[in-house]
């Protein structure tokens, strides 16, 4: 017994005790381990997320950010596609100031944007109002009117356009019934851009769907109150619908303007890639393409691309500034 009493305490528990006992200067261990476990769990989750993101990120870096930065560099060089680029400094931008075709293409593009976007939005709003009156088979009409938006960017529609507005096209055949001899609308400098504007306006489906959604948001009680007060349909439109719809109009306007500045396919196909006749359909992007791939002047084309970016950014900024004056947020 004494033997046992005098004996030192069995070593294992003592060792165990010292091991378990926290050092005096450290905070209690359990919360820390818990924290660490939580962090590594979150990280593991993050990692899975990043892993799933990786293909997109690789694609984004490789095919979007990379080329964007490359084009910024190229815009300061002479680059003929085949030989390596040579540093030019601001020469490309300087040349742009003296380029009559660039000025012409800007003029054509501005005409195109400032005519086709209002026409397109007007059509979209008109159709949305009509469809919002509780038409039977709404989803059918909505699809039918949306269809051109899906098709019009395609080459086949542009070719169809050439057929319709060509010298032997549908338009002239109809005109001939009334004894009017038409010209080739797509190939006349006074009308060719007009046919492209009509084509763009025809794609009112996307803004129309957005308008329809916006119209549904307007509380019915407003109209009921107005009716009680004896307001006419026109008055209701101008005093309830239009003000409450301004955020949607603004959204559509910004989106469609940016899109219209970048139009390319229709002009390319309708004019056979030349922007003709006499540069009347020479949209900015089409001229950019011609300089880059027709004249092997990729440095200049890159400078044009960055200039377009600045123009679009400036106009969008202006849109936002002006919006304060006419866009009404009820919420």
């Amino acid at each position: 017994m004494s033997d046992r009493v005098g004996a030192p305490p069995p070593s294992p528990p003592a060792e165990g005790a010292t091991a378990v006992a926290p050092p005096p200067d450290e905070p209690p261990a359990p919360p820390r381990t818990r924290h660490r476990r939580a962090a590594s769990g979150a990280l593991r989750q993050d990692r899975a997320g990043y892993l799933f993101l990786a293909p997109w990120f690789a694609g984004m870096a490789l095919f979007t950010i990379g080329p964007i930065l490359a084009s910024l560099y190229l815009s300061f060089t002479e680059y003929s596609l085949v030989k390596p680029p040579e540093w030019l400094g601001l020469d490309n931008y300087r040349r742009m100031l003296e380029d009559p075709r660039l000025a012409k293409s800007l003029l054509v593009t501005v005409q195109y944007v400032f005519v086709s976007v209002p026409v397109q939005l007007g059509l979209a709003l008109a159709l949305a109002l009509l469809l919002n009156r509780g038409v039977r088979g709404l989803s059918f009409y909505r699809s039918v009117y949306y269809l051109p938006s899906l098709l019009a960017g395609s080459v086949s529609i542009a070719i169809l356009w050439r057929q319709i507005f060509g010298s032997d096209g549908l338009v002239n055949q109809v005109l001939a019934l009334f004894g009017v001899e038409g010209v080739s609308w797509v190939a006349h400098p006074d009308f060719a851009l007009g046919t492209l504007i009509v084509l763009n306006a025809w794609t009112f489906g996307a803004p129309m769907v957005i308008f329809l959604a916006g119209l549904r948001q307007i509380p019915v009680s407003y109209y009921e109150a107005a009716e009680v007060d004896g307001a006419s349909t026109v008055r209701k439109f101008f005093h309830i619908t239009l003000p409450l719809l301004t955020p949607i109009i603004f959204f559509n306007l910004v989106l469609q303007m940016i899109g219209a500045f970048q139009s390319f396919t229709q002009a390319f196909v309708v004019s056979g890639g030349q922007g003709g006749p006499a540069d009347s359909t020479l949209l900015y992007t089409l001229y950019l393409y011609q300089r880059g791939f027709g004249s092997f002047d990729m440095g200049y084309a890159s400078a044009m691309a960055w200039t377009l970016l600045v123009i679009i950014a400036a106009l969008t900024g202006l849109n936002f500034l002006l919006a304060k004056r006419w866009v009404f947020y009820s919420g």
């Binding site: 990280l43 990692r47 990043y50 892993l51 990786a54 293909p55 990120f57 690789a58 694609g59 870096a61 490789l62 003929s80 596609l81 085949v82 030989k83 050439r162 060509g166 010298s167 010209v183 080739s184 609308w185 797509v186 190939a187 006349h188 400098p189 004019s271 056979g272 890639g273 030349q274 003709g276 006749p277 006499a278 540069d279 011609q290 791939f293 027709g294 004249s295 092997f296 002047d297 990729m298």
Partner: protein, 431 residues
């Protein structure tokens, strides 16, 4: 920890990028079984594509280790696509070019110097003048597919219906030409014309060479004078005003559709058209009429003959091809083998290899004989070789189309248009 994970993420991204890059490069290098894959591109219609495929098949039969894939587009689209392919480093191994394009691409380092493959690609039997059309700055970039010349394609059916006599192409002048064009239009049903608006760079070459000038000078400058351009446009405006050529907008429309099947003469709607002699087969097929080839007006009594013999197309090899030997072997087959010649016949010009020319003669049909006869008749009477435009001059046809549209739509007077054309072309070739 977070830095390490970021680094790991970066590595992952890099790996992904490399994977994508290798996938993109994997395209043309060839199969696992040691076969070499070549890509060959040309412009033209479906008939030409069918014939070319037969040539490819014949080549592959002789060379089991080589696989050739062809791709083609119409003339306008072809060069747009080629530019993007060259830019992305994904150009075909064997590229068909013409006119000033070999210089354009050669000067920019995109084409193989054919001297490096001369053991495989023989040029000793090729017509020297035509071979010269592929030689720029003492470097041979291209081998001619055949010989070609501009002529007037004449539709005897339209002439006969209008009751107009065919001209004597040994002696006719530009005045005769105008008179005939007007007569055809006047005596034909509405919608049939004397010809489509003839303004093309090739025609400016002919018109100016007859006056002792040329579109370009030998040292790479603009050679045509303002007066020549003014006279040209005065003539085409007279033709338009009299209804001998279509309205301005119809002309603008025709420019965007270069296929023979879409041309006025290809639809039987014109009595004449200036065109290259190797187009006669396609035009005859399109119109179904026994079209003829005649010499251009104004050759007799001119300072020098305006027409010339030219390589119709040139086969070139991509400087970055992985298989220059095999590509050269294929080009050699295209231009030097009677077997290929018997399939292509005169579709790419009269073969410039004399042996091939002799070999194909018995098998020629009516359409092709017309072409051979025209070239044979023209050869002793043609003017000096054409001065091919300098780098940048491939833009000239587009400049001409734009300025010509301004003239035809009465937005520019011929005198101003002449100044405009010369200044724009000068700017294009100085870049």
């Amino acid at each position: 920890m977070s830095i390490r994970s970021l680094r790991r993420l970066g590595a992952l991204g890099l790996a992904g990028a490399l994977l994508a890059a290798t996938a993109a490069c994997g395209g043309s290098s060839g199969g696992d079984d040691g076969t070499v894959e070549l890509r060959f591109s040309w412009w033209g219609n479906n008939d030409r594509a069918a014939a070319t495929q037969k040539v490819i098949d014949a080549f592959q039969k002789q060379n089991p280790g080589i696989k050739v894939t062809g791709s083609f587009a119409d003339f306008n689209a072809y060069f747009d696509r080629l530019a993007t392919e060259v830019a992305s480093g994904d150009a075909p191994d064997v590229i068909t070019l013409g006119g000033a394009y070999p210089r354009e691409y050669g000067d920019r380092g995109a084409l193989l110097d054919l001297a490096t493959v001369k053991d495989v690609l023989k040029t000793d039997k090729i017509d020297k003048a035509a071979l010269g059309n592929g030689n720029f700055g003492d470097t041979q970039y291209g081998v001619p597919s055949g010989v070609n010349a501009i002529g007037v394609v004449v539709d005897p059916v339209v002439f006969e219906k209008a009751g107009v006599e065919l001209p004597d192409d040994e002696t006719w002048t530009w005045d005769d030409f105008k008179r005939i064009a007007k007569e055809i239009a006047a005596k034909s049903p509405k919608g049939t014309f004397g010809l489509a608006d003839p303004t093309k760079t090739d025609m400016l070459d002919i018109f100016s060479r007859q006056r002792g000038e040329a579109l370009y000078t030998a040292d790479g400058k603009v050679g045509i004078s303002e007066q020549t351009l003014i006279d040209w446009w005065n003539m085409t405006l007279e033709l338009r005003d009299s209804g001998a050529t279509p309205s301005a907008s119809q002309t603008a429309e025709l420019i965007t559709q270069p296929a023979p099947e879409q041309s006025l003469i290809g639809r039987g709607l014109a009595g004449m058209q200036f065109d290259w002699s190797n187009q006669i087969g396609a035009l005859r097929k399109a119109s179904g009429h026994p079209l003829r080839l005649m010499r251009v007006p104004g050759e007799t009594g001119a300072k020098q003959p305006g027409s010339w013999l030219q390589a119709s197309q040139l086969y070139t090899i991509n400087a970055k091809t992985e298989h220059p030997k095999e590509a050269a072997k294929f080009v050699d087959f295209l231009v030097n083998s009677p077997e290929a010649g018997k399939i292509i016949l005169t579709d790419r010009g009269i073969p410039s290899n004399s042996d091939v020319r002799t070999a194909i003669e018995p098998g020629l049909d009516e359409d092709q004989k017309v072409q051979v006869d025209y070239i044979s008749g023209l050869t002793p009477k043609a003017g000096p070789p054409l001065v091919i435009g300098p780098t940048g001059s491939t833009d000239t046809p587009h400049i001409l189309d734009r300025v010509n549209a301004e003239v035809l739509f009465n937005r520019l007077k011929p005198a101003d248009a002449a100044k405009e054309f010369i200044s724009q072309v000068t700017a294009a070739i100085q870049q």
